[in-house]
């Protein structure tokens, strides 16, 4: 069957030209050696803009400043310490093999490529595994208080989808502690005057001059002032776009504006349909729900997931006898059991709920039971390991998880897709780099647990600071630009016009109402399971919502003040465009892989069926003003990890 969709055109294939040839284990060394360097004395003459202060952005800003560059950094939060990396709970992977349990760089590389269902680039993933080791060293030296054993050495645990114990953690607040480490390193540079920090400032557009990224347009969220900022290179560390779904585990203000605006200015967007649905979130309670809360996947190490065997069994959990429970993950996947990768665990939960065996209000939940763990380890040990998660659960649901099993349900959590980048993490716009969740590079179609923190820090501390040198060295004397440059003027003008337009509609629907409507549509048709019919329906509906948005949106207040409704509405404009590309990408990829499950493409026993013949590529979409998007395929070559049907049985 050939693709019959006409909503896009296929352009020239795309290739990563930066990864050197040769053995995968030597590529990073080779690249670092081949990359040109900037003389330390000249570095202070270069300005680099970094947008975002999460793990990737905070680490990059601090490290570039340490190297001597002049860094101008932005975040929409009131402090760089609040970026949403802070909410990551479980841990960070590193191939330290401190446990002597057979781990190695190659195994982490292998696990990540396999876990990503063979849709990631081998060179990038191998580099990530190599660098993972240095990250832990760096963070410990910064004073990150990782969990330790009585001998004073670091403790590790195993984490969703792997069989070695390579995950370093700081109770259930690993992301917080790592982010504070990066924030402190950044703070040190701010104090030294090498980083100029603009908090409560949101990037609204990219300024491209002569084909190169030279600056951004940003809005001061307090005064509403829109201004342009210039640099020799721009780094986007703005995170993922999960908030397209309205309900997700992202922060309320996490948004896709920076990457989407960059996309509209020429950066290709890769694999937008690859979204991760996290299996262990707290189920929603009603229409008022504004966001979903994740419970760390580490809970699956000791908790057992089950539903009643019978449909519509509404007895309280404790009254359902053992033989009437279905520990479905342990049943279907005996060797990995409750530790199967996220996409598999999520889909299994959806399946049992679709069968009518879900628990809790609306039947949208499954049990995560710690009774056995408490019996085995004692309550004190469980409390030490998971206490804060249990507290959080109790606070949100008013149920005591020590007594009754938790109820969990999958929720949108992470987006593997993002701006297409080469091995240097440079997008298709020269001088524009994307790091962390904002790029598409390392996780393929599914991310393993505890790998997001690893990737964010690898990109920020180690990869970008090396590769950006090469670009800056090759562009040592860029033409000076300022706000009077036509490209800057037009970007500023367009941004102002957009804000004015939003304020001028004065309709009768709130920004949230549109966001919720879009989110429900996306969850229904572009969520855990996707069909051609559903995606076509969504693709038909999104332009209608967009049209209605511009007719009926109501944004109170003015643009020259602190205006949270305006911020929201402005982000929704971009969600309404990005959502369409996500659906298109999902529609064109007629295979199932990782987090992307097309019901048309499954094995007889209901597992995702990849189609390596036709789809072993990263889909990089080019924005074409006024025309259908152009698809550029980057073929993925697997020299070391040969694609197999993933099996966790």
């Amino acid at each position: 069957m050939t693709s019959s969709y006409t909503a896009y055109t296929v352009g020239a294939p795309l290739a990563d030209t930066k990864a050197p040839a040769g053995p995968v284990a030597e590529r990073w060394d080779t690249r670092r050696f081949e990359a040109k360097l900037v003389n330390p004395a000249n570095r202070r003459k270069h300005t680099v803009i970094v947008v975002g202060t999460g793990l990737a952005g905070g680490a990059a800003g601090a490290t570039l400043a340490e190297q001597g560059y002049h860094v101008v950094q932005f975040c929409y939060q009131d402090s760089p310490r609040r970026a949403h990396s802070i909410a990551a709970q479980g841990g960070i992977n590193a191939a330290k093999n401190y446990r002597n349990d057979g781990d190695s760089i190659h195994r982490l590389f292998y696990d990540t490529v396999k876990g990503g269902d063979f849709r990631a680039r081998e060179s990038n993933v191998h580099r990530l595994a190599q660098i993972s080791v240095e990250i832990i060293d760096q963070c410990v030296a910064q004073g990150v208080p990782f969990a330790r054993e009585y001998g004073g050495l670091l403790d590790t645990r195993s984490f969703g989808g792997v069989q070695v114990s390579r995950t370093f953690y700081a109770r259930g607040q690993t992301g917080q502690q790592l982010l504070l480490g990066a924030y402190q390193a950044l703070s040190r540079q701010i104090a030294a005057g090498t980083v100029e920090m603009h908090a409560r400032t949101e990037m609204l557009d990219l300024i491209v001059v002569d084909g190169k990224a030279r600056g951004i347009v940003a809005r001061d969220l307090v005064t509403g002032e829109i201004s342009s900022h210039f640099a020799d290179a721009v780094v986007l560390a703005t995170g993922g776009y999960g908030n397209v779904f309205y309900l997700s585990t992202n922060a309320m203000n996490s948004n896709a504006t920076a990457v989407w605006r960059a996309h509209r200015r020429g950066a290709y967007f890769a694999n937008p349909c690859f979204t991760q649905i996290h299996p262990t979130c707290i189920p929603r309670t009603g229409d008022h729900q504004s966001k979903l809360t994740l419970m760390s996947e580490s809970l699956r190490n000791d908790g057992r997931i089950w539903v009643p065997k019978a449909r519509g069994d509404d007895r309280p959990a404790r009254e359902i006898p053992e033989e009437e429970r279905d520990y479905y993950l342990e049943r279907i996947y005996p060797s990995f059991g409750n530790l199967v990768p996220r996409d598999i665990a999520s889909r299994a939960a959806k399946n049992v709920c679709d069968e009518g065996r879900g628990v809790g209000p609306g039947g949208q939940g499954v049990y995560l039971d710690f009774a056995d763990a408490i019996a085995r380890m004692g309550r004190a040990k469980v409390e030490e390991k998971y206490g804060n998660l249990f507290d959080m659960y109790a606070r949100i649901t008013a149920e005591d998880p020590y007594e009754t099993p938790m109820r969990i349900y999958p929720a949108v959590h992470y987006t593997m897709g993002g701006l297409w980048v080469d091995y240097d993490l440079q997008t298709t716009v020269p001088g524009l780099f994307a790091i962390g969740e904002a790029n598409f590079s390392d996780h393929g179609a599914n991310r393993l647990g505890a790998s997001a923190l690893m990737q964010g820090l690898a990109d920020g501390y180690f990869v970008l600071p090396s590769t950006i040198n090469d670009y800056l060295a090759r562009n040592a004397r860029p033409e000076p630009v300022d706000a009077s440059h036509p490209a800057a003027e037009s970007a500023l003008r367009e941004t102002r016009r957009r804000i004015e337009r939003l304020l001028a509609v004065d309709g009768d629907r709130t920004p949230d109402s549109f966001h919720r409507e879009l989110g429900e549509l996306m969850w229904e048709y572009c969520g855990m399971a996707r069909t051609e019919e559903g995606l076509r329906k969504a693709l038909g509906r999104i332009p209608e919502i967009r049209e209605e948005f511009w007719r009926r949106i109501k944004v109170p207040g003015s643009g020259e003040e602190f205006n949270q409704s305006l911020e929201k509405a402005n982000r929704i404009v971009d969600y309404l465009e990005l959502a369409e590309l996500m659906c298109l990408d999902a529609l064109h990829r007629e295979e199932s892989c990782g987090g992307h499950f097309r019901e048309e493409s499954q094995t007889p026993d209901g597992e995702a069926a990849r189609d390596d013949e036709r789809f072993a590529y990263a889909a990089a979409w080019e924005f074409a003003p006024g025309a259908a998007p152009v698809l550029h395929k980057e073929d993925l070559v697997f020299e070391y990890v040969h694609p197999t049907q993933r099996s966790y049985a």
Binding site: A147, G152, I190, S565
Partner: protein
């Protein structure tokens, strides 16, 4: 349930503010406090009024953005962040007062939003370990006794929300500052800058216009992360030690 809200409204830092009264209806006990405010804001927007501005982001109790004084208590009646406070803590017919953090070092930006950049500057004064990227020895090169690691972690949990300052009758930032000082000073990695860190951070805290500590203990009661009051004593000890030792 049906509630009456009295909310601080202030257009910007230069305009005086006042409490305004709103009635909200159909509030579910499962809503978070912020979702209740979302409901109010949806109504205000449709009525053509300015919605209430408040800081919030992760809504999971970890980013530290949310910052409301509810019925006189920072983060409200439960020991948690505002975003994790649920309406089941209130009863039908209640009148709830909602105010911003009050401290001269936290000027009001708009309505319930305050400027907490003074906290950032305290961290910038020394709340870090000077270790450039790439300069680190192997993570296992320096074992850290578990007790010290746990002590460091307990203090590193601070989310920088500022509830301690809001609750303190003197607007003091001692609990915040001490949390970071204690986190880093107990670790071997933080030892080389142990003295300068505490001296510089305390000096910056004073420069920002926070009040002094009278050990009223309100901060530790309000802290959603349970940073303990003895944290302040531990920092005082570090400060006195640094004064004896500082070779500057």
């Amino acid at each position: 349930m049906r509630l009456t809200l009295r909310v601080w409204r202030q257009k910007n830092p230069h305009t005086p503010g006042q409490m305004a009264t709103y009635d909200v209806d159909n509030i579910s006990a499962d809503m978070s406090f912020l979702e209740m405010l979302d409901t109010l804001n949806e109504e205000l927007i449709l009525r053509g009024d300015d919605p209430v501005a408040f800081d919030h982001d992760c809504r999971e109790g970890i980013c530290g953005a949310c910052s409301l004084v509810i019925n006189g208590d920072a983060h409200g009646p439960e020991r948690t962040t505002t975003c994790q406070l649920h309406m089941r803590s209130f009863s039908d017919g209640d009148t709830i007062d909602v105010e911003p953090w009050r401290a001269s070092a936290f000027p009001v930006v708009k309505d319930l939003v305050v400027d907490r950049s003074s906290f950032d500057r305290i961290i910038q004064a020394g709340g870090y370990v000077s270790v450039p990227t790439g300069a680190a020895p192997d993570a296992h090169a320096t074992p850290v006794p578990k007790a010290d690691a746990d002590f460091a972690f307990e203090h590193a949990e601070c989310i920088g929300c500022g509830a301690c300052v809001a609750a303190c009758p003197n607007g003091s930032a001692m609990l915040f500052t001490s949390a970071k000082v204690n986190h880093l000073n107990v670790l071997p990695q933080g030892a080389p800058e142990r003295e300068t860190r505490v001296l510089d951070m305390v000096a910056q805290m004073d420069d920002e216009g926070f009040g002094g500590c009278t050990l009223a203990g309100e901060c530790a009661t309000a802290c959603p992360k349970g940073i303990p009051l003895p944290s302040i004593a531990a920092m005082n000890k570090e400060w006195l030690r640094a004064n004896r030792k500082a070779k500057r």
